[in-house]
Symmetry: C2
DNA sequence: CATGTTTAATAGAACGATCTAGTAATACAA
DNA sequence: TTGTATTACTAGATCGTTCTATTAAACATG
């Protein structure tokens, strides 16, 4: 009678048996602790190789209730800015010997709550979230009361949460000032969702720069859209159908700016000549598009590293360690704003450090 | 005497106590099974809310030894092509009620083996890997013998593994034929690492197209580099320092092509006019750069969805279900190859479907 | 009324690791 | 010889859940 083998997992018990020692001894070997002799240790290691043993971290965490998993939840990985952010977070956590697991919400709040729950259920000891649009502030605030949580890039209305963000107001102000300096007077603000803090901040900077020049803020020039390429196309189309066309546009971010440039092309207009365009983020592609995009540079990787740092502080020191980081945002002038003279040299200067070699 | 509370986790036992039922009853409620009355069920749910219960999936998996976690390990998330691939995989797995966890290797094989191990340790039931450069084929092959594994984008030398890849040979052949049709004779092949199958396939297509026209394959025109923007810069610089400069270049992928275009700019050359450039992948940015990039379109999201499909088949049907998927690759003519006339209309045609609205 | 059948509910073993508290054996000092 | 450290090793409890087997009651059915 042939016995059908139930394909049971290889466990610590099997190893113990094969090596002729106790479970406890195997466990010690597994964790590299002392208290087991050289010969026994060797036998255990051999047995693990022979039987194809896979450590069961779930079982281990059950007992010691402290995993090293942290979750990162990103709103849109197809936006290069967030991809770079994610890589920055990932690298920093890795260096500190945490195991980052990543997930993408694609701006779905429903998916986001699923992911947050799932990551906690899997024993994550902390979470870095770049929140989806329309995220419920109270939900995250409540979670953060007894769980290490850091927001990245997007802060959330009315909640006192740790966050790593950039100088949105200052950046937008510098950008607007630059456009004004080039002689533009009718400057649109394109894209982004109005309910978000990040947009409110950038909008405030835009407004402040206008009013500093004695130019009245005109709500008709502020056009909301999704913070995506497609949103940028929509926003620019809307801007072009205004009674009088704007001279220039400050875009919510670089992908919106690229969408806006596509829309301009469709209308036979040339960015930088017919309408000045400025973006925000300085993604790697910004220097490559045509014309090269003038933008506000935010170092996504550094932002990510700081988000990681804040999270680790919270994990180690508890709720007492709720801090914030604000990364700087500086203007990078390329061609799309219409400042043609400066283009070539600056473009070159900003290109090379984009990517580190292996 | 104030008693210091050990902050123990809220467990199913606490809920049971609070609701005045047994652990088993709580477990049933948790999983939405029948066998518990309406009033008891309500009490349990209330208690869970009151106490802030978090399900411990590790403990559950320990007992039932079947999680729904699958891992996806990506070689370079800062390359938009792989970001789109990741999003495609993610979406497909999500639809099938699996919980995808993602991680980035940044082309590090060391990191890759760590991640593979970690994901198995955390109970992943399968893995989709877009392998890092220099991945050890035997290692993955051995793993795949008793573990559901699918390779995405990059196949691995000499191993019979499930994979979802694209028509590399056909795509490169079409691209080369197109460049030849435009009158180019001295066509370089730029970028990519020579040890990879994917590059060998693309190179074979390139070579086949050349030889079909009676043009001898010239190894000096084939330049290796990292498959990154920086690699593209290096490769093009090398190509420009050849004794005689090439007429055109087929680039390993789009980011290499963009790097190549940067290098051309540095040398004061114009892509499409002085040297024709063709890429591979058709990332969203390809249509936006200057000039718009002629490339071989590969639908990364569809590739990802198919990788997910193959993995699910394997998970459900075991090792018998090792299949392969080959996505098609078609030429998209824009400006960078030098075929100026067709640019505008095609560029427009290919732009709109890139991104789906919310 | 006896006899099934369904439903609600539970106790106790199990999953795979770690931790505690211990035993046995050796080495070293007095 | 005895006492004391140190080292190698282990049995059994434990973590939070699910599963199996069982009981008890409620409800039909002939």
């Amino acid at each position: 009678m042939l016995q059908v083998k139930e394909k049971r997992n290889v466990t610590i018990v099997d190893i113990a048996e094969a090596a002729g020692v106790s479970r406890a001894a195997v466990s010690l070997v597994l964790r590299g602790k002392t208290g087991v002799g050289a010969s026994a240790r060797a036998r255990v290691q051999q047995a693990m190789r022979d039987l194809g043993y896979v450590y069961n971290r779930g079982a281990a965490n059950l007992r010691q209730s402290r995993s090293s998993v942290v979750g990162m939840i990103i709103n849109d990985l197809t936006n290069p800015f967030f991809a770079e952010l994610a890589v920055g977070i990932d690298r920093a956590l890795q260096i500190s010997n945490y195991m980052p697991f990543m997930a993408n919400t694609a701006e779905s709040v429903v998916r986001q709550v699923e992911l947050i729950r799932s990551m906690r259920e899997h024993g994550a000891v902390g979470l870095i979230v770049s929140p989806a649009l329309d995220t419920d502030p109270d939900e995250l605030a409540e979670l953060a009361q007894d769980f290490p949580l850091v927001l990245a890039v997007r802060r959330i209305a009315g909640s006192r949460l740790a966050s790593a963000v950039s100088q949105n107001r200052e950046g937008a102000q510098a950008a607007t000032r630059h456009l004004l300096g080039l002689g533009n007077r009718k400057i649109a603000f394109l894209g982004g969702r109005s309910a978000t803090i990040i947009r409110a901040e950038r909008l405030a900077g835009y407004r402040a720069a206008l009013e500093a020049q004695g130019i009245a803020f005109d709500p008709a020039l502020v056009i909301e859209s999704m913070p995506t390429r497609l949103g940028g196309i929509d926003a620019m189309n809307a801007a072009l159908s205004l009674p009088t066309r704007p001279d220039a546009a400050l875009c919510f971010n670089d992908v919106v700016a690229m969408g806006a440039m596509i829309a301009l092309n469709h209308h036979g207009l040339v960015p930088g000549r017919d309408i000045g365009i400025v973006g925000f983020d300085d993604i790697a592609e910004a220097a490559l598009v045509s014309p090269p995009l003038t933008t506000i540079a935010v170092n996504a990787e550094v932002l990510g590293e700081n988000a990681a740092r804040l999270l680790l502080n919270q994990i180690r020191n508890g709720a007492s360690a709720i801090e914030n980081y604000v990364g700087d945002a500086r203007l990078v002038v390329r061609g799309s704003c219409g400042a043609q003279g400066q283009t070539a040299s600056i473009q070159t200067a900003c290109l090379m450090p984009i990517q580190k070699g292996p």
